[in-house]
Amino acid sequence: MNEPAISIRNVTQRYEGSGASGAVLAIDEVSLDIRKGEFVCLLGPSGCGKSTLLNIIGGLFRPTSGTCTVAGRLVDGEPHPDQIAFVFQESTLFPWYTVIENFRIALKFKGIAKSEWDDRAMRALKSVGMASFAQSYPDQLSVGMRQRVNMARGICVETDILLMDEPFAALDEQTRMVLGEDLSQLLAATGKTIVFVTHSLAEAVFLSDRIVVMTARPGRIKTIIDVNEPHPRSPDFMLEPRFSELRNECYSLLRDEIRATVAAQRDPQGADA
């Protein structure tokens, strides 16, 4: 069974612009195979289309052209909640429901039998150490706690694939590191296939098996970096010289792309310069 878990073929995404800005090419002919159980980070400057690519894999956007197959099934702008779960930023928890109700609603949407809801929810909450906050409302928790709960909500639906769209973007660096370690521990046990979108170089190196470095808009794959380090990873990995080397490699690859993005923002005509 060497069939890839996710297979992306020549995916292009174009947004129809309005007025003078014209159409925007967000992703240009991207092809990528992701193995089962692999942790892949999409790393790139803002606006390079990495979130768009993630949304295409998850079936939330329909690509302008190209195909995306998940476990042999074509994803074409329709979500497959039985195979794929999303984790967005922590503010995705519904503020009008308590923590446990947020889990129940996710399981209900997915069509899980009612009798299983609370068992599954509590198991997932325990795995992130948040079981005693089941009856709290999200607003009563700190940002870090909310993101733990949000991660657990993505885990409790028990899909093979987890797509994470900058889940830690709203967190401070210290909380982010702790949550990253937890995530590494947690996921090593489950064997899920994970695609993770991030801006953070350290996060990408610490978590991934492979880092997909993307170019400035239009997003293409610039390089793929292998991180040969078994999971679960301990914080000591961050102190190793290899960690810094990989991080620096990512940075040198990204530097030109970030400059291109900033230049494009400064002067729309100078994007190609």
Binding site: P81, F94, W96, I105, Y137, D139, Q140
Partner: protein, 275 residues
């Protein structure tokens, strides 16, 4: 020892002064007292009566008069009917207009245009169309109350978070699931803002129509007392109407407190008490 007692006393004293309810009651009492003094001492009895006189008129001329009580009750029923209509129609129209960006951009300006018309100018026409009975009053109350409800439902639907919609869709939520578990809970706070404004305007509409057509309802008695230069029963009657308004508003507020999901209620005013 005595110093500690003194300190305790001053702090209770300042705690009372920092209590908003106490200050409010104090303000009302001061105004009533001022009116009483002015009413007894200087006011023209043809236009003004001291609060004690109004209270007396209520007990002697309003409460024992079955026709007036009946008129008040009738007024309550008209308000209730007009409000029920406003809520049902307002929420349905609001949901329909707010459903998509397209429908909002297409139809919302029409609602704003209609709301901008000074409706009082149409009152004679409404009376001609609906007659002198309760229908005209209900229609006029409805046409006032329905707008703030529509507007606030539309406004509430406009700012549903894209991330919430997307999360629900990624979990496999159907369109109906999304409406029930994402959109409706989201609009509850702004819905209630609309319901409270709608309540106030429904009252206004019904009472305006009552005053215009004075054949036996509250409007008749108001005009009767005013034209006879007897301000005491007039103010007593107005006091009754105010009481009705307060009761209706209170009902909406209780509903709001019970139905607002989660911790999204209006924050309670907290007054820090110094140790």
């Amino acid at each position: 020892m005595s110093e500690a007692t003194l300190q305790a006393k001053t702090s209770t004293f300042s705690a009372v002064w920092r209590n908003p309810t106490f200050l409010r009651v104090l303000l009302i009492a001061a105004v009533v007292l001022a009116l009483e003094i002015y009413g007894r001492g200087w006011a023209d009895p043809a236009f003004m009566s001291p609060p004690s006189g109004i209270m007396n008129a209520f007990l002697v001329k309003i409460a024992p008069e079955p026709k007036i009580i009946e008129a008040l009750w009738f007024c309550v029923l008209q308000i209730a009917a007009a409000y029920a209509l406003s809520v049902v129609v307002g929420v349905i129209i609001g949901l329909a207009i707010g459903a998509t960006n397209f429908s909002r951009v297409a139809f919302f300006p029409v609602v704003l245009l209609l709301f901008a018309i000074p409706q009082v100018s149409l009152l004679p026409l409404v009376i001609l169309m609906f007659g002198l009975g309760p229908a005209a009053k209900i229609a006029f109350g409805f046409s006032h109350g329905v707008f703030p409800i529509i507007m606030n439902v539309v406004a509430g639907m406009r700012d549903v978070k894209e991330l919430h919609r997307r999360a629900a869709r990624s979990m496999g939520a159907s369109r109906a699931d999304t409406i029930r578990h994402v959109i409706l809970p989201h609009i509850v706070p702004s819905l209630f803002t609309g319901l409270r404004l709608g309540m106030t305007l429904t009252l206004l509409g019904v009472i305006l129509a009552e005053l215009y057509v004075s054949t036996g309802g509250i409007g008749y008695y108001t005009r009767l007392f005013a034209e006879n230069y007897s301000p005491a029963p007039l103010f007593a009657l107005i006091g009754c109407l105010a009481l009705i308004a307060v009761l209706f508003n209170e009902l909406v507020r209780i509903a709001e407190r019970r139905l607002t999901p989660g911790k999204r209620r209006h924050p309670k005013l907290k007054i820090p008490v110094k140790e």
